[in-house]
């Protein structure tokens, strides 16, 4: 079995090679290095997991840990550079390297005519390195290195088209909002170290598991809420979700890989990894569930009215991430990760399909300028349709399994959560099929001659389509990760009725979308006119960006400008420095008049001076 460190090393090598020499290598070699390194990583993952027996249903629940060297030793603090694999990280490894490989292949086609080709793949490989480090890390600090690294790569890739102000602004926004979350993460990690004396997952969780559930609730609540702030930043939950829709300014493969399939699920992974801590704090669990559900509802409603195809899927991602946190919050960590996996399939496919459409439409993203594309881009249409079925929870697609499981688990906690979730599921189906119908059905409303994408783009689409449809029952992540769920006394038995209702909600959403956008297209407009006020609120995303701008951003800018810059820096600090300088100048100016240049005036001063000194000495009794 190959060592674990090989897995992240391949993409790192690829990033270094492409980053340093890519400019001179030519596109073919750059693509080969980029895809080859991820493929090597994927193969290593397969070998490692096979060697550990992770592919069987009876895979070991104990983690396989490899300790390489002591990274930081200072007083009580002793942190090793340790990597580990258990069932949870095995699932994440498969998703990251598998989906990552497909998206790398796709990107060679999508980016073929873009400038900075080697730069793009260097960043993308670097992202893979950090993401794998995040997933493999055996303590919170190694995880945090990956956590920060993916944030950096996200920033670099969102701002990839850095000549456009929108893109670089979006990159900054993503980075800054994530810093807020990271602040919570670090505080949570400090608190863990202060109370458990270690950051090692094994040590922390075994100590926490030994504590009775009615003890230290406040401590666990504080730790978990702080960690959840970090997760909310990375995984775009209320109130830190605002960066993700803007992140769509990056190239579409980036949206698919980082802002749909992998990086944004890091928060869910981190919460599930810390399941032992979270289950000790009912308050934190409820917070996670409520925030997750609120995010799911809010983002879904915004998604209903957006016309930019990538924006629709961005809000959809936020919404689906909300579902995952809902699952974690009700204790169904296994279903949360299940949804991570199925979501990675169908959301990556949605984004890649959207990228294919955008590619075909020559960088047009507005759905009102599309339409009727189904026979011009048939492969894209069929695969995207499969993804839409999956996210809508159509029976026996991948999304059906994970979403139903989450909703049932939510019902076990509270029927209110379930019913709101069901309504959201209906909205999800509606907005996704709205995007499908607007893009592929009806009359063509755009310009030019759309064409199907090259084979390097369509093959990943087809593979992902198969996974979106069949991934749910091919990989039963829910039972594979059941060990994450705290054991309750009572036996949970599935209520089939709950599943039927959720599925029906999805089908109703699809039917409504059909009615509004295919059968009677004028209905959508008259609906929007009838509900002008709510429509405008949704179209403007509840004015959250504007609210943040006036409540947080503007006061900070004005405070920095008026108080810190003009007041503190210019007024106080510069005032002191300039004041001292001015004082010296004034005194010097006075003394300057003594220096006339006339020798005789100097001599006169000497004489006067000596007379004064002699007089003074005589008056004081003379020199003895």
């Amino acid at each position: 079995m190959p060592p674990l460190w090989l897995i992240p090393t391949f993409p790192l090598l690829g990033a270094v090679l492409n980053g340093l020499f890519g400019r001179r290598l030519g596109k073919a070699v750059v693509s080969l290095i980029a895809i080859g390194s991820v493929a090597a990583s994927f193969a290593t993952v397969l070998m490692v997991l096979n060697g550990l027996g992770m592919f069987s249903a009876s895979a070991p629940e104990a983690p396989h840990i490899e300790r390489y060297f002591t990274w930081i030793a200072s007083g009580d603090l002793n942190i090793g550079f340790d990597l580990m694999v258990d069932r949870l990280s095995a699932v994440m490894l498969m998703v990251v390297t598998g989906i990552g490989l497909l998206i790398h292949i796709y990107a060679t086609g999508y980016m073929a005519h873009e400038g900075g080709y080697y730069r793009f793949f260097a960043y993308l490989n670097l992202f893979m390195f950090f993401m794998l480090l995040l997933v493999l890390g055996a303590n919170y600090l190694v995880m945090f290195v990956g956590w920060e690294g993916v944030g950096l790569c996200s920033y670099l890739l969102i701002g990839f088209y850095f000549l456009e102000k929108v893109a670089s602004d979006a990159g900054n926004k993503a980075f800054i909002v994530n810093r807020i979350g990271d602040f919570g993460f670090t505080l949570g990690a400090f608190l863990i170290f202060a109370n458990f004396g270690s950051l090692d997952f094994g040590a922390v969780f075994s100590k926490a598991a030994d504590m009775p559930h009615d003890q230290g609730a406040g401590l666990f609540t504080a730790i978990c809420l702080l960690l959840f702030v970090g997760a909310a930043g990375k995984s775009a939950q209320i109130p830190l979700y605002v960066w993700l829709p803007d992140a769509m300014a990056g190239p579409t493969p980036v949206s698919a890989l980082i802002h749909a399939a992998t990086m944004v699920t890091a928060g869910v992974y981190m919460v599930s990894r810390s399941a032992v801590l979270f289950t000790h704090s009912p308050i934190a669990m409820d917070t996670v569930a409520v925030v997750g559900l609120a995010t799911a509802v809010m983002a879904a409603t915004i998604g209903l009215v957006q016309t930019d195809i990538k924006k629709v899927y961005a809000y959809s991602t936020v919404s689906q991430l909300g579902y995952m946190f809902l699952a974690c919050g009700v204790g169904a960590f296994n279903f949360g990760i299940y949804h991570v996996v199925t979501h990675a399939f169908f959301k990556a496919l949605l984004f890649l399909g959207a990228g294919s459409v955008i590619h075909a439409m020559h960088h047009e993203q507005d759905m009102t300028k599309m339409g009727g594309l189904w026979n011009k881009t048939p492969i894209t249409f069929v695969t995207l349709f499969a993804a839409a079925l999956a996210i809508a929870g159509f029976p026996f697609t991948s999304g059906y399994f994970s979403k139903d499981a989450i909703l049932e688990a939510a019902h076990g906690r509270s029927p209110v959560l379930y019913w709101i979730g069901v309504v959201t599921a209906g909205m999800t189906a509606f907005y996704v099929f709205r995007s499908i119908f607007m893009t592929f059905f009806g009359k063509f409303r755009g310009h030019g001659d759309p064409h199907e994408s090259p084979i390097s783009m369509t093959v990943p689409l087809m593979i992902l389509a198969v996974l979106s449809l069949a991934g749910g029952w091919l990989f039963n992540i829910g039972s594979y990760l059941e060990y994450l769920v705290p054991k309750h006394g009572e036996e949970h038995h599935a209520d089939h009725m709950l599943g039927y209702i959720a599925t029906a909600a999805g089908l109703i959403g699809i039917a409504l979308a059909w009615l509004f956008y295919v059968a009677a297209p004028s209905l959508a407009d008259s609906f929007a006119n009838a509900f002008k006020m709510p429509y405008r609120w949704l179209l403007n995303k509840y004015y959250v960006d504007e609210a943040y701008d006036s409540v947080i951003v503007r006061p900070i800018i004005e405070g920095s400008r008026g108080v810190l810059w003009r007041g503190m820096d210019v007024g106080l600090i510069d005032g002191i420095v300039n004041g001292i300088g001015g004082l010296a100048r004034t005194i010097g100016g006075g003394l300057k008049s003594l220096q006339s240049g006339y020798i005789r005036s100097y001599a006169a001063w000497v004489v006067i001076g000596s007379v004064v000194i002699i007089a003074a000495m005589s008056l004081m009794g003379g020199y003895r």
């Binding site: 220096q595 240049g597 006339y598 020798i599 005789r600």
Partner: protein, 109 residues
Amino acid sequence: MPPLPELPAATPVAWYLLLSAVLFAIGAAGFLFRKNIITVFMCIELMLNAVNLSFVAFSYQFKQVDGHIFSFFVMVVAAAEAAVGLGIILTVFKNRNTLHIDEVDSLKN
């Protein structure tokens, strides 16, 4: 060492000092009020020699040799200063074509 010959008692040391002070005052006044650099220069010599006179007078009064030594030092310095000073004066005259002291004022400010 044979004893020094007695001085005529009629000449007290104060007279020498008075003469020295008068000479010094004349030198200082000339330094301050004359405009020709050469004259100013000569006034400096006058002040130096006035001081020399008081050194020698004290030396004789207290029967100590220190004052004599000091006055020799002063003479050496005065000689060196005369060489350098006259050189400067010549150069100033060559460059500025004047020996008026108030016109040599480029060090001001």
